[in-house]
């Protein structure tokens, strides 16, 4: 159990900067997921915590001790790699016990601990096999066992589930969660899969372009995205964005074809803003009814439990997710209703959330 403190951490490769000054605090025993698109610097950040990548600027401290200059082995971290990185010439038992062997722990105690770890991960019958003779899920478990046996202060996961098939991924996800509940070691998990991130995290860190966009619990991230990037990156299908301009007594949307009556909240007239609505927050109403937005259906995607209806809203693409048993024909017109509390506003210029704006909305009507 250890806390991790990251202060102003930067990473440069020659002239390209991939991490631009990150500040983060992970509490002891917390399960933190770093989520972001490929190339956002999340893996680099993880590798800097592990000590596999030099820190160009700033400091990383584990339990208050700055580890910038420490070797990986001196940091008390264990890591699970994306490709598992099992030693191909060693048996499962040797793979799991390698760190103990390096540490000079006598064979008897080593075997005892290997057995104990194998029991928790249900690997007992595979201990003599070589990694080549294991399935993907079994290899994954061996990689976890190798990390567990050291009883590390910090667990680092570098997209460990991305090489597994969908069913196994769900299963391993819950196993990792259970394991964390039992071991209660501080865990940092890097992924680009938002479902994985949402389900695993105590706290989520959203990264983009080498910067932290938002830190919060999964529900905070979902309900109050701090930026336009977070809003569209988290949630599937992605949040709808309608571009608009602030006017004297409201907001002009969709190139002026729709108006939203609301207080300006100090924003100068002419400011460009984007209004976001999650597809699952849009309600279906009878077309032409009071306060309804009429839209033309483009395509309906059946999901079994519900369906995603892609519509054309005055020329702008818009999606609606519903669990109601409606099956509109493409080309037909449906009515949409959006409630004020489901609207998110972002600055078109900086992409940041405009909260003042929303708080002052009296009773907007479209």
């Amino acid at each position: 159990m250890a806390s991790i403190t990251i202060r102003g951490v930067k990473k440069n490769y020659a002239k390209t900067q991939v991490v631009h000054g990150v500040d983060l605090d992970f509490a002891s025993g917390e399960f933190v997921v770093i989520l972001g698109p490929s190339g956002c610097g999340k893996s680099t950040l993880l590798r800097m915590i592990a000590g596999l990548e030099e820190i160009s600027d700033g400091t990383i401290a584990i339990d208050g001790l700055v580890v910038n200059k420490l070797e990986p082995r001196e940091r008390g971290c264990a890591m699970v790699f994306q490709n598992y990185a099992l030693y191909p010439h060693m048996s499962v038992a040797q793979n799991i016990g390698y760190s103990l062997k390096v540490a000079g722990i006598p064979a008897a105690e080593r075997n005892q601990r290997i057995q104990a770890v194998a029991r928790t991960l249900e690997l007992e019958h595979l201990l003599d096999r070589k990694p080549m003779a294991l399935s993907g899920g079994q290899r994954q478990r061996v990689a976890m066992g190798r990390a567990m046996i050291r009883e590390p202060k910090v667990f680092l996961f570098d997209e460990p589930l991305s090489n597994l098939d969908a069913k196994l991924r769900v299963q391993m996800r819950s196993e990792i969660r259970k394991l964390h509940r039992r071991l209660n070691a501080t865990s940092v998990f890097v992924t680009h899969d938002q479902v994985e991130a949402m389900t695993l995290a105590d706290r989520l860190v959203i990264m983009n372009g080498g910067k932290v966009e938002q830190v919060g619990t999964p529900s905070e991230i979902y309900t109050r995205p701090a930026s336009r990037f977070v809003a569209t990156f988290v949630g599937a299908p992605a949040m709808n964005m309608l571009e608009g301009t602030v006017e004297l007594d409201g907001l002009s949307l969709l190139g002026g074809s729709r108006r939203l009556a609301m207080a300006r909240a100090g924003l100068p007239v002419g400011t460009k803003v984007a209004m976001g609505i999650r597809p699952e927050a849009v309600r279906l109403v009878a077309s032409g009814s009071a306060g309804a937005l009429d839209a033309t259906v483009d395509l309906v995607e059946e999901l079994g439990a519900g369906r995603v209806i892609y519509v054309d809203l005055d020329g702008a693409p818009f999606s609606v997710m519903t669990s109601e048993a409606v099956h509109p024909e493409p080309g037909s017109t449906i009515g949409l209703k959006i409630l004020p509390e489901d609207m998110h506003f972002f600055s078109s210029e900086t992409g940041s959330r405009l909260d003042v704006f929303k708080a002052s909305v009296p009773e907007p009507a479209l």
């Binding site: 592990a50 000590g51 596999l52 070797e71 990986p72 082995r73 971290c77 264990a78 890591m79 790699f81 994306q82 490709n83 990185a85 099992l86 030693y87 191909p88 010439h89 390698y98 760190s99 390096v102 540490a103 190798r146 050291r150």
Partner: protein, 294 residues
């Protein structure tokens, strides 16, 4: 459905193979068969018939102390030069693999020695190691007479070993570097996370994973040290002093073409061939077991 191109008639296949088969037959099987035949006869040095003598040639060679001396010299040469060439190449490759900047340059520069003909490089080393004027003559100025490959058999052996190793270090280096680079980076990182230091990682992870390459190079180096050493010996020492560097392959040449003992030379060729075959079988039987193929 059969996707590959196949020939309905086997004669076409044979026709395609004929040029290669002819080459192999002319330059390998026929001379080898000829050598076996000569080794069992007594050839006239100026031509004009031969006498069947059975295994007499082998008996007289194996009873000759000079020949056993040659076998010993060859084994010493093979052992030390293979060990030296492989060890230096392994260390260089391990260091290059860790710090990759400029490794492309090393690769090009280090393969050059292998491209140099043995006599040419032997001549260069003859100048470098010359006791009276070469680079090494400096030590003779400090301790007069300590280095003289022309008089001291051990010095002469050291000279040819250095020259041969120098040639094969580059060759081995290329293979070792490729083997090191084929090891996934994440394995080394995982070992580092497991608490393993640089040296420990080398022995526990990298070394076992390059054993196929080590084995391959061992077989090649030993075989070549019995055969490719001729040019070096011929230019640098001519087998001397006092037969100290009279390696088997050189003795075949000097006995056969200088001593005109064709039959004895043929018998020596057969023995050399058998020795290499036995050594190779031994390596496959006893060393290959320890090789881990990924």
């Amino acid at each position: 459905m059969e996707k590959r191109v196949t020939f309905s008639s086997w004669t076409i296949g044979i026709l395609f193979a004929v040029p290669q088969l002819l080459l192999i037959f002319t330059f390998f099987y026929w001379p080898a068969g000829q050598a076996v035949y000569w080794s069992l006869t007594l050839q006239q040095p100026w031509g004009g018939g031969n006498i069947w003598v059975g295994l007499d040639n082998f008996r007289s060679i194996l009873a000759n102390a000079d020949y056993w001396n040659s076998i010993t010299a060859s084994l010493v040469f093979a052992g030390i030069s293979t060990g030296l060439a492989m060890f230096i190449a392994l260390v260089l490759a391990a260091l290059t693999d860790r710090q990759l900047a400029g490794s492309r340059l090393y690769r090009v520069v280090l393969i050059w020695p292998y491209g140099i003909a043995a006599p040419a490089l032997a001549l260069a080393f003859r100048f470098i190691l010359a006791p009276e004027a070469g680079f090494l003559s400096v030590i003779n100025r400090i301790w007069p007479g300590i280095w003289d490959p022309g008089l001291d058999g051990a010095d002469a052996m050291a000279s040819i070993i250095v020259a041969f190793s120098w040639k094969y270090v580059g060759y081995n280096f290329i293979f070792f570097l490729a083997a090191f680079q084929a090891i996934p980076r994440s394995l080394i990182e995982a070992a580092a996370m497991d608490g393993s230091g640089v040296i420990r990682r080398f022995w526990d992870i990298q070394f076992p994973l390059i054993t196929p390459t080590i084995f391959f190079l061992l077989v090649i180096n030993i075989t070549e040290s019995f055969q490719d050493s001729f040019g070096i010996v011929d230019i640098m020492t001519s087998g001397g002093p006092a037969n100290a560097t009279n390696l088997m392959v050189y003795k075949i040449y000097s006995d056969g073409f200088k001593g005109l003992d064709y039959s004895g030379a043929a018998a020596q060729s057969i023995i050399l061939m058998l020795l290499i075959i036995v050594l190779t079988i031994f390596q496959f039987r006893f060393i290959e077991r320890r090789v881990h193929y990924g």
